[in-house]
């Protein structure tokens, strides 16, 4: 970001009244910083503390130092690794398909010039609908007897008795489909905004030079869309890694859909095993941080640019 180094401050001379600018800035920033400290930093610190202790399930308040025991328990537990696997398959699958679909939708919206306002409104519906409602919606669509999917399959002569949410890979597939439906539009809107800043002259020039539509897409659209694409990818990946609502409502984690957030919730909330549950939450946190670090380090310096802009 070339602009990063130019914090062209407002004129500071000739002001005798009021406090100094830096002091005012510090005052204006501090309520937010204090609040964020209380609601983000403190709980995370406390989670680390909890994760290093063992809590009695029977006697409230009774705890003892456990060192890294909760972590070794978690890391030695096949359920944890299965949750890691499920979370990554879900993230990979949904981010991949929603990027493809989002890109296709963005290109169609960009080209479809007349109904764009209407399209943007329509596309915002899945984005705005609550995730819980999204889950219920797809539950009704994949419901064995009254769902649309089985009746469609039956109509074209395919087996129509699949209990979608009751079987192992199927439940995860439904979860991915629901997520793609909900978030591809968000992707499409971000990418559409990216497409709109590409000057049309470039395409015209390429056309004159005889480039095919595919060549124009690969050589012009994709490279110029890269910044918007990366931002969208990062947002979506980090979002997908913490998925909780969809498996909670669709299957309660049954049939191979227990994700990292869900396994942690079940451990500390449902089963009241605080120490282990906190360790699982911290592990989830670390995994998300590693992924975001990898993204920023290897695929996009532009996130830094965004922060510095």
């Amino acid at each position: 970001m070339a602009t990063a180094a130019v914090p062209a401050g407002p004129p500071k001379k000739g002001r005798s009244k009021g406090m100094s600018e830096r002091r005012l800035a510090a005052l204006m920033v501090s309520p937010s910083m204090i609040l964020i400290g209380i609601v983000a930093a403190y709980p995370i610190g406390y989670a680390v503390w909890l994760s290093l202790h063992e809590y009695s399930v029977r006697v409230a308040g009774l705890s003892r130092w456990a060192g890294l025991k909760n972590y070794t328990t978690a890391l030695g537990d096949s359920e944890f690794w299965s949750a890691v696997k499920v979370t990554f398959i879900f993230t990979g699958g949904s981010v991949f398909f929603e990027t493809l679909l989002g890109l296709a939708m963005a290109m169609a919206m960009h080209a479809a010039f007349k109904g764009q306002g209407l399209l943007r409104t329509v596309v915002l519906v899945p984005w705005a609908v609550l995730t819980v409602v999204t889950a219920i919606m797809w539950q009704t669509i994949f419901e064995p007897s009254l769902g649309f999917v089985n009746s469609l399959l039956g109509a074209v002569g395919l087996p129509n008795d699949t209990v979608w949410l009751g079987e192992s890979p199927e439940a995860l597939i439904v979860m991915i489909i629901a997520d793609v439906w909900k978030t591809a539009p968000f992707m499409a809107l971000l990418l559409l905004a990216g497409l709109q800043v590409i000057p049309n002259e470039i395409y015209e020039a390429a056309k004159v030079d005889g480039a095919t539509a595919w060549q124009r897409f690969v050589r012009i659209t994709l490279p110029l869309l890269k910044p918007a694409l990366l931002v969208a990818l990062i947002f979506r990946t980090l979002d997908a890694l913490r998925i909780f609502d969809l498996p909670f409502v669709l299957t309660k984690g049954a049939n191979g859909t227990t994700t990292l957030s869900l396994i942690s919730y079940e451990t500390f909330q449902t089963n009241r095993i605080l120490g282990l549950g906190s360790a699982l939450a911290i592990l989830t946190f670390i995994i998300v941080m590693i992924v975001s670090f990898v993204y920023i380090r290897f695929v996009g310096g532009n996130i830094r640019g965004m922060a510095e802009e």
Binding site: G9, P10, G14, R15, K17, G18, M19, E21, L24, M28, P31, M33, L35, I36, V39, P43, I44, Y46, L50, M105, F113, G117, L119, V122, L124, V125, A128, V129, L130, T131, I136, T140, S145, L146, F148, L189, L190, A193, V231, A232, L241, R242, F244, D245, F248, L260, S261, S264, Y265, F268, L274, G277, A281, F285, V288, I303, G305, M306, A307, E309
Partner: protein
């Protein structure tokens, strides 16, 4: 910050300017037929699942085991029954209180912070923005576990303030981030004129920047409201009874009007009802929402 050179009128009519750029790029040849197919496909893809939900919500009894594309005997029974359900109306009220409080607090506190970050001299700006941005990527589960214990200990478990406080953890960074990008779009000359005339920085903020930033504030309010209305993980972790449950949490624990009835019809009706405020927001403020979602994302 190239925004300083943008004319005032452009900023005030950002959406119109946006539309204008699109118009220039309109293909001169008419829209080909496959474009209409693509448009129709998008519309069906986005709206069909919602239609199916409505379709199911209009059925009771035996109709709930047929998969016809329209309800055989459409009825509003599910809708009347959920509004007779005290837990559901309570949840609606809880959701409204929580979402509106979170929105108001985030706007007030966040706009101060965003203005300082967008305009004033301050050490550690990049650090603060980086922090704010990284918090939006936090998995909520990391604060849910400790808050569950903490709230139980100090009596905030299963209360509305117990939800409002942690929601700020995510809504405040969101508000700050969007507002910073909006404040930067406002031309500096007006503020500078005021400063020359002897106004303080704070007066310049309240008297000049805030009124100009009204559209940005509206966008931020809508997005924060949607976040709070939709939030689920903290809502189920930090509550245990209808007393403090918000609608998403209430629906997840819904058991229908009678215990033995398949509650899919009522759940669908409740889902439709709680989506209505969101659909209305989208219909009324489509441009604002898109502007907020894409703020910063393409400029990077």
């Amino acid at each position: 910050m190239g925004a300083a050179s943008i004319g005032r009128a452009d900023v005030l009519n950002q959406d119109e300017a946006d539309v204008a750029t699109k118009k220039q790029k309109a293909p001169s040849e008419g829209t080909p037929w496959w474009m209409w197919v693509a448009v129709a496909a998008i519309v069906v893809f986005c709206l069909f699942p919602f239609y199916w939900l409505i379709n199911i919500s209009l059925r009771t009894g035996p109709d709930l085991s047929s998969s016809s594309i329209v309800p055989p005997n459409p009825t509003l029974d599910n809708y009347t029954s959920i509004f007779k359900n005290g837990d559901f109306t309570r949840a609606l009220l809880n959701s409204a209180i929580v979402s509106l409080t979170v929105t108001a607090l985030s706007l007030v506190v966040g706009s101060f912070c965003a203005y300082a970050l967008a305009r004033l001299k301050l050490r550690g700006k990049v650090f603060i923005l980086g922090l704010v941005l990284s918090i939006t990527t936090f998995p909520a589960i990391a604060i849910a576990a400790p808050l569950f214990k903490l709230w139980t200990d100090i009596g905030l478990f299963n209360t509305l303030p117990g939800l409002i406080i942690p929601y700020l953890c995510f809504s405040l960074p969101l508000a700050i981030y969007i507002l910073v990008s909006f404040f930067r779009e406002i031309p500096r000359d007006l503020e500078e004129a005021a400063l020359v005339d002897g106004a303080t920085n704070f007066q310049a903020f309240t008297k000049i920047v805030l009124p100009l930033a009204a559209p940005g504030m509206a966008t931020t309010a809508i997005l924060t409201f949607i976040f709070a209305w939709n939030e689920f993980l903290l809502a189920v972790t930090l509550t245990s009874s209808p007393k403090a449950r918000t609608v998403p949490a209430a629906i997840a624990f819904f058991t229908g009007s009678t215990e033995f009835e398949k509650p899919l019809g009522t759940i669908s009706a409740a889902s439709v009802v709680i989506s209505i405020p969101l659909v209305l927001l989208v219909l009324l403020f489509q441009k604002r929402i898109v502007a907020g979602l894409t703020a910063g994302a393409v400029k990077g």
